[in-house]
């Protein structure tokens, strides 16, 4: 039923199916709202545990003498995130630095799953009788929206905590003054609601496009796959780093907007 041969459409569709668990019956399959995407959950949690374990191990073995390679690497990442926060964030928060580091490294590692060959994980799991699996956790709207909504709730929390009653005054008279307060409220609402949606859709869209193009490259004859796949991998390496960085940077900027009042 596709424009090309049906087998190619099926191949693409096969790579777009999640490994889903129906929570009504606890069997594999789509259960409407009560569905768990098992592949996304398992892989993202595994990657998160790996990241935390490596960083924890590096922090436990830290020395003030000659640092090892791992310690150098972790310190480099840490100082990078720290300098970003010092540049963009002018408040006090004990939460923001660890959260930004976690967001950056975790998203980067989850994006890195995209650089594995598209058929590697599904073929291995097919040996165990699992039909469909998607190896890239950020290639799932649930993960990206979970992260951006968490950030959004933190933004609201810090808005209320830092500004207090001043926040209501800001909502009512922020851009245009008190007499246009319906317009002000509408503008503020749009401004806030756009934040989580754009954060998550940006990450998801980039990863989805990247994964889809890898799948399409896999449909080409073998002598073309290497060149196109290599070029796209290099380009994609840039994209996944930038997307992880943007997610972190925009989180910092939004939090900075939340804790600083306009007047």
């Amino acid at each position: 039923m596709s424009l090309l041969r049906p087998t190619e459409g099926e191949y693409v569709q096969h790579h777009l199916d999640y490994l889903q668990l129906n929570l009504h019956t606890f069997k594999l399959g789509d259960g409407g709202f009560w569905t768990l995407n098992l592949d996304t959950l398992v892989i993202s949690i595994l990657i998160g545990v790996l990241f935390i374990a490596v960083f924890y191990w590096a922090a436990r073995k830290v020395t003030s003498g000659t640092p090892g390679r791992l310690q150098n690497f972790v310190e480099m990442l840490f100082e990078f995130v720290d300098s970003m926060i010092k540049e963009a964030f002018h408040g006090k928060s004990a939460l923001l630095a660890p959260m930004s580091l976690t967001i950056f490294v975790w998203i980067f590692l989850m994006n890195c799953m995209d650089l594995l060959p598209v058929d590697l994980v599904p073929k291995i799991l097919a040996l165990f009788g699992i039909y469909a699996v998607r190896a890239v956790p950020t290639d799932d709207l649930n993960v990206t929206f979970a992260m951006s909504i968490t950030v959004f709730l933190l933004i609201i929390f810090y808005n209320v905590k830092v500004k207090g009653w001043h926040l209501i005054k800001e909502i009512f008279c922020s851009p245009f003054g008190i007499w246009l307060f319906p317009v002000n409220i509408l503008f503020r609402f749009l401004e806030e609601i756009v934040k989580p949606v754009s954060l998550s859709l940006r990450l998801y869209g980039n990863l989805f496009a990247g994964e889809l193009i890898f799948v399409l490259i896999a449909l080409l004859p073998w002598w073309m796959q290497w060149t196109l796949g290599g070029i796209w991998s290099l380009f994609h390496l840039l994209i996944i780093t930038i997307q992880a960085f943007i997610f972190m940077m925009l989180t910092i900027v939004y939090m900075s907007m939340a804790v600083s009042s306009h007047d």
Binding site: M1, S2, L3, L4, E8, G9, E10, V12, Q13, L16, L201, R202, Y204, G205, N206, F208, A209, G210, L212, I213, L216, L219, I239, I242, Q243, F245, I246, M249
Partner: protein, 100 residues
């Protein structure tokens, strides 16, 4: 025969939609990157010592410019190469209508 005509109609419209999706996305990104790169070079030419800082900001903005074009291109490619949901919908509707 009628079925073939319907499918051909949807295929033609899908091809136009894909062309618009990918073409407009790349048009917008091209203009965006042109302005971005030009302004970056302007800024560096004016104050070369700000180069590294501006380069990083430029990459941040490049990611922002890139993002929604990527979604558009992905949807276009999905319509073109994947299972086209529009044709599938027509096929199921015909099946229930004619009962064949």
């Amino acid at each position: 025969m009628e079925y073939a005509q319907l499918v051909a109609n949807i295929q033609g419209l899908t091809a136009i939609a894909v062309g618009l999706l990918i073409g407009l996305a790349s048009l917008g990104t091209a203009v965006g990157f042109g302005v971005l790169g030009g302004k970056f070079l302007e800024g560096v030419a004016r104050q070369p010592e700000l180069g590294p800082m501006l380069l990083m900001r430029m990459f941040l903005m490049a990611g922002l410019v890139d993002a929604f074009a990527a979604i558009s291109i992905a949807i276009g490619l999905l319509l073109l190469f994947g299972n086209n949901p529009l044709i599938l919908a027509v096929a199921t509707a015909l099946k229930t209508h004619t009962g064949s």
